[in-house]
């Protein structure tokens, strides 16, 4: 028991590096005993997670990289490596499609970026939304619940309700209220000219609440004394928002922006929820297709938008994924450095 008590004393000492300094040899003996138990405990607890991580993160990523250098062989029904001279065939194919004016991949790429940038436009407005709730303005409690509902209801449910409204609801408005002929109505979601703007509006509208809870939580950590001080100095709500709330939220904003740049090139938009894989009787205008959607549907759905069986697309999409990841690294770290440079270093 005595030995155990001594071991226990050694744990915090080891952790904090403080405590009463015993003589060197005795300390070493006790440290070894406790750390051995701690090592065993930590390994036992983490074993499952580490195995899982090694399989799905380490091996999964390696597998993904290897797949970028492979192609489908119908004879063996498996993915096989290209010969050494064609090693980068998938990369070449992806880049030539991306920059070819005859292929639509470049446009898909730009579409995806616009879908994603909509989120960036929503960000400042979502912060203002959260500020209104945080300042407990009239009906803030009710509005908080309403703003949060899209986060708990499936995005698919919201997307399909929107689709039904824009298709059938507007059709009713067209014929019943405006009195125009049924045959002249085209749903904005099926019209090549208006579909992209309609989807951007959808993204924008449902992106406005943003990460409401995180924003309110971060804002509510602003020290009350600071807000009081600002009030005594004659701060308006706008000044409080700009000079107190935003600087104190800087680390959160940094995380948001880093997250946004991570998915910059692979954003899908709400296409899959609204149109499915584009094969089941739904018409997806090409002007709305995003690169992320193209990549996903090519892999999960045979002879879909790519016109090829899914197996044939594994190599190409893996190569694209790898290239995008490599391009994203400097962007993400550059953004982080930029944020660090302009960090107001405000602290809670």
């Amino acid at each position: 028991m005595e030995q155990f008590a001594e071991e226990v004393k050694a744990v915090p000492a080891a952790e904090t590096g403080g405590g009463e300094e015993p003589s060197a040899p005795r300390k070493k003996k006790r440290m070894l005993a406790t750390t051995k138990k701690a090592h065993i405990f930590c390994i036992c607890v983490l074993a499952f997670m580490l195995v899982q991580w090694c399989i799905f993160f380490v091996y999964g990523n390696m597998n993904s990289i290897l797949l970028a250098f492979q192609h489908y062989d119908p004879d063996t029904d498996s993915q096989i490596f290209y010969p050494a001279k064609d090693m980068f065939a998938n990369f070449g194919s992806f880049l030539s499609q991306l920059f070819s004016s005859e292929r639509p991949l470049g446009r898909y790429f730009l579409n995806g970026m616009v879908y994603h940038l909509t989120g960036l436009v929503c960000l400042p407005i979502s912060l203002i939304f959260a500020f209104i709730i945080y300042k407990k303005m009239p009906a803030a409690g009710f509005m908080k619940v309403v703003l949060f509902v899209p986060s708990i209801i499936s995005a698919m449910v919201i997307a399909l309700l929107f689709k039904t409204f824009v298709t059938q609801g507007l059709q009713g408005f067209w014929t019943n209220v405006l009195g125009k002929p049924y045959s002249e109505f085209t749903s904005p979601l099926a019209d090549d000219d208006s579909v992209f703007l309609t989807l951007i509006l959808y993204q924008f509208f449902f992106g406005l609440p943003g990460s409401l809870l995180i924003n309110i939580g971060s804002m509510s950590r602003t020290p009350e004394e600071l807000v009081e001080y600002g009030r005594l100095e004659g701060f308006s709500y706008f000044q409080e928002f700009v000079h107190l709330t935003l600087p104190l939220m800087f680390p959160v904003l940094q995380i948001y922006c880093l997250g946004m740049f991570t998915g910059f090139f692979t954003a899908q938009g709400p296409l899959y929820a609204i149109y499915g894989d584009g094969q089941s009787g739904t018409y997806l205008p090409e002007s709305a297709v995003s690169f992320g959607y193209y990549m996903m549907v090519s892999v999960i759905s045979d002879k879909s938008i790519s016109g090829m069986a899914a197996d044939y697309m594994y190599g190409l999409t893996s190569a694209a994924n790898l290239l995008i990841g490599l391009v994203s690294i400097p962007i993400v770290y550059g953004t982080k450095m930029l944020f660090d440079r302009f960090d107001p270093e405000a602290d809670f």
């Binding site: 997670m49 619940v145 399909l160 309700l161 939580g217 996903m296 694209a320």
Partner: protein, 321 residues
Amino acid sequence: MEEILQTLPPQEEQPAAPAKKRKSGKEVGRKILRGIFPAVAWTLVALWCLVFLLLIFWAFINSLKSYINFYEDPLFFPKSGAGYGWNFSNYEMAFSALKILREGEYITAPRMLLNSLLYAGGSGFVSIVTACLASYILAKYSYLKWVRGLWAIVLVTNYLPISSSLAANIKLLSDLGMYDSLLGVIFWQSGAFGYMFLIYYATWKSVSWNYAEAAFIDGAGHFRTMLLIMWPMTRTIFAVLFIQQFITLWNDYMTPIIYLPSYPNLSYGAYQFQFSVADVNIATPPIQIAGLLMLAVPVFVLFMVFRNKLMGSLTLGGLKG
């Protein structure tokens, strides 16, 4: 004239008058700005809420219409008369019509409900347990060198914008025999080092190690200390994260579509419902809308029951206890 001049303030004070005037103009402007920002912002939020509630209300009244009524008038309340009226039976029809044909066998709504519960409950629980345990070790045993090293790796991998491609994931799960296996997908999703890990890590950091020290002195081992002393202090957070994860997975339709085609959940079923052309009398927009709203009800009820806990607890730096 001289008398009048004498009554005026001294020369150097004279510029004060126009300055004062400018200041008052500024004050008025500031007052307007002071009022404009909250008024405009509040109006924007109120408008958003109104439009969103109108969409939900529109969906609700249309979910109760007959097929003919919906096509004649998809905007306003159901009409009265034969073939019209409030069709509450749409919800019942939606539940019974919610089925997916898979390898010659119909998977019906009750089975999808079971799949939803198993997937959302199982995967949600396992992933929060792994996040809780891993974050405990990394937060509280950082005096061990390899644990510190692991923490550095976790940080780097969380910031790296590289992830395995969808194709590689499908291939990997197929190679491991985990594709289209509920247990396999739960194992795949039980990764400990993601978003929940970071939140739980911040939580463990805020829990004092003194409690553990006291437990060690009383004779408890590492495992018992973690389970009986430390974990109960984070029970609320555990529950909040579990509910959040449950809601996310309940709504998830992409994972079952891609990785679990034989285990469709309710989200998958409702998603497929829109493309269902098996029976045009059943797959009508009012019944489809009823199906979608029905799907949202369980999570909405769950949210309303736990809304104070869910909405009052989360911050990016961690969770309040």
